[in-house]
Amino acid sequence: MLSRIADSLFWLARYMERAEDTARILDVNYHMLLEQSQQTYRLRWEPLVIMAGEEKRFRETYEEANAETVFEFLAFRQDNPNSIVQCIAKARENARTIRDRISREMWEDINGLYFMLNRFNPEEEIAAGPHRFCDAIKFGSHRFHGVTDATLPHDEGWQFLRVGWSLERAEMTARLVDVQYQNLLDTTSMANVADNHQWMAVLKSVGAYEAYHRQHHSPIEPERVAEMLILHPQHPRSIRFSATEVQGGLRAISGTGSGSYATEAERMTGKLLEGLRYDRIDEIFKRGLHSYLHELLRMFRLIGTDIERKYFYYGAVA
């Protein structure tokens, strides 16, 4: 497989996932806000911008982080490279360069999503609130996964897609827990009820709210939520689950068996997964959640870089 094609598949999956994750966070946050007082207003929207890693750009454009500005910034701004419309446009562009290598159904689906998105009027959507728009993105992404799964041979190309969306998802969840947790540490004393809602929002944004209640039958405790999002072996959006997927994809590409590694990316994924398998949440908190998550994010970045170096880099003659 051409390096460029593997590269495009990887980024197609990442951008699609990034769009979905952003939509999920926006939507849930908005609905939590509807139930909240004005006091904690500011705190609720700012973390989203921080999560997206676009604080500086945001401040250059807006004075205040509120429902409208954050929604516009994260969903529609063309000058925000990680806005939803930008992510979908880039996903489609990647798909277009490899349309002879993906299934016709995949291409038609992504193409359709792109055209549908262009039909949304940002002003109308901002006035109406993010639900309709975010739902469309979420289901667009789900359809993409479904169509891909059902129509593309599960060969090495499919594995690059899998690694792409899993790595993106792992990073997003890590950032979500980190930002929300820090935010809550700053405010626990002043708004106890609010945190509970905030954590409910976090759970809902990753679709884990019901699963949490099935497992715990108790009020929402921040530590349990963090445990679920970081360490849960089966929840499809937990960091551990996503990292396991990354490992599965990387091994399928290189043909390595378990207990061994062929690339630096595989070595780091294996090492990181050891921790996620055997760490307990109380140990993580004792060491400090923030530094734990930061270490994970650092490793994810290194894994991404190594995948690029190993499989996509075509600047020099090997």
Binding site: L2, R4, D100, Y314, V317
Partner: protein, 494 residues
């Protein structure tokens, strides 16, 4: 078969249809369809306009969903547009097609011999059959190609030769030889698929020769060029990328042939060998079907600002380590001044008379021609010799005085760069006009695709019929309101 006057049937779609003063391919005169159009005429006559409109909508939808579009860059963003498809087929009886086929084969072989000669011994220059200065002043004549031993001596693997039918005599004439990187074959293949879905009953009435062997035949020829033998030949299609207007065709052909679609940045040359960069390292490439123009192929040999090419590609090509289709330097045969000499080439290289005539051409580089052209500008079509796709053109009768004067100055300043031809009316075929929901007579041309393997020329029956959908327009280019039709070559005469 006797002709039936259309009035007798009162066909709604053809109400008021006027073949006019041009050669109409369906009607010999008003109300009298030619024998080979008889059956389709009767079928269409039975379709009520709303039903026809419905089928047309289905056909359009099918093109849109598959993303069969071309890109227009007028709004700065690049908009994808449908290439309009007209549902009325253009039909050629077998005998007429056989003559076209013989004429095109003859022409392709002669053009190939000319290119072999001009980049080899240059016998034709020594024999003074064509002025040396004319060849050496061609923009697309590449000295770099002199003495290069191209695989099997083939230059013109794929040609898309444009034909027009003289509106007075009905005779097919050669208009242009596109021997560089002609495009459009994907529309031919897709038009047929959509047509069989939309009007399956029309196909049952006729025996239409199939065309879907094109990708397999092209793939066979490409593989046969491999310098390392054909069994493991690694063939790729080199595209300028998604921003190219023909990108759909590139990905379509790559997929149909099962070859890798590559961009310049996917390839690298090391030690005069071309490789592609894969996730398992470098993999050798043997044959490149390139859809990138000569000037952009290799920044070391041609334009150094090209981002589309592969540095060192020409070195590998000259060393015989990679085959390119088409060969580099073919543009010299596409030069519109050289075009005037092709009948001579056929005589010179093959000792035959041309089967298909060319359009009379005045070379402004010759003083007596030049003064004639300058005196008759309002009646002539003037073309810049190195251009294609309808650019750099003056259609005298359709132009105002100011435009004509601008061209006069340009011609005087650089006579070698211009040729002039009489206006040829172009034949017409009934085409559906959505505005009136009736048939209107529209001008057409024909581009058959010729594949040459060094021994024989294979032409898929028919080719791309382009149609100027604007009433009265003679411009068939897609960027200017042109569309296309399915072209049927019959197994028999009707």
């Amino acid at each position: 078969m006797a002709s039936v006057p259309s009035e007798a049937l009162s066909p709604l779609l053809f109400d008021g249809y006027d073949p006019g003063n041009f050669y109409d391919e369906m009607f010999s005169r008003r109300g009298y369809p030619r024998a080979h159009y008889q059956k389709i005429f009767q079928k269409l006559a039975a379709v009520a306009p709303p039903h026809f409109e419905e089928r047309r909508h289905l056909a359009d939808l099918s093109f849109l969903l598959q993303g069969i579009t071309f890109t227009v860059y007028s709004d700065g963003r690049g908009t994808e547009r449908l290439f309009p498809f007209d549902l009325i087929p253009r039909i050629l009886p077998n005998s007429e097609w056989r003559r076209i086929e013989r004429g095109l084969s003859q022409r392709v072989i002669a053009l190939n011999l000319f290119l072999q000669d001009i980049y080899g011994p240059q016998r034709i220059l020594h024999d003074r059959e064509i002025p040396r200065s004319l060849i050496y002043s061609c923009r697309h004549f590449h000295r770099e190609m002199i003495g290069v031993d191209v695989p099997h001596g083939i230059y013109t693997h794929i040609c898309g030769i444009d034909l027009i039918r003289d509106s007075k005599t009905g005779e097919f004439l050669i208009l242009e030889d596109n021997v560089r990187t002609p495009s459009g074959i994907s529309y031919v293949l897709e038009n047929r698929i959509v047509m069989t879905r939309t009007f399956p009953d029309a196909f049952q009435a006729y025996e239409v020769l199939p065309i879907n062997h094109y990708p397999a035949e092209l793939s066979r020829i490409l593989r046969s060029l491999s310098p390392r033998g054909t069994t493991d030949a690694q063939t790729v299609l080199l595209t300028p990328g998604i921003y190219n207007s023909a990108y759909f065709e590139h990905s379509f052909l790559a997929q149909q042939m099962g070859v890798e679609l590559v961009e310049g940045r996917d390839l690298v040359v090391d030690g005069c060998i071309v490789y592609m960069k894969t996730i398992r390292g470098l993999k050798r490439v043997d044959v490149i079907y390139r859809r990138v123009d000569d000037e952009f192929l290799d920044p070391l040999a041609f334009r150094e600002d090209s981002m589309l090419g592969v540095p060192g590609l020409m070195g590998a090509y000259r060393a015989g380590n990679v085959a390119l289709a088409n060969a580099v330097g073919n543009g010299v045969a596409d030069d519109k001044a050289v075009y005037a000499y092709v009948p001579k080439f056929i005589k010179y290289y093959l000792g035959e008379d041309p089967i298909l005539k060319s359009v009379d051409t005045h070379l402004c580089s010759q003083p007596e021609d030049l003064s004639y052209v300058l005196d008759h500008l309002p009646e002539l079509v003037v073309k810049a010799v190195g251009e294609s796709g309808g650019y750099g053109m003056l259609i005298g009768p359709a132009s105002d005085r100011a435009t004509i004067e601008t061209f006069r100055e340009r011609i005087k300043a650089d006579p070698r760069n211009y040729i002039a031809q009489p206006v040829i009316g172009l034949s017409r075929v009934p085409s559906y006009d959505p505005a009136t929901q009736r048939m209107g007579a529209r001008h057409v041309d024909l581009r058959p695709y010729c594949l040459y393997d060094g021994e024989k020329v294979t032409i898929v029956p028919g080719g791309l019929t382009r149609v100027a959908l604007k009433p009265g327009s003679l411009v068939v280019n897609s960027s200017q309101g042109g569309g296309s039709k399915d072209t049927w070559v019959l197994r028999g005469e009707n």
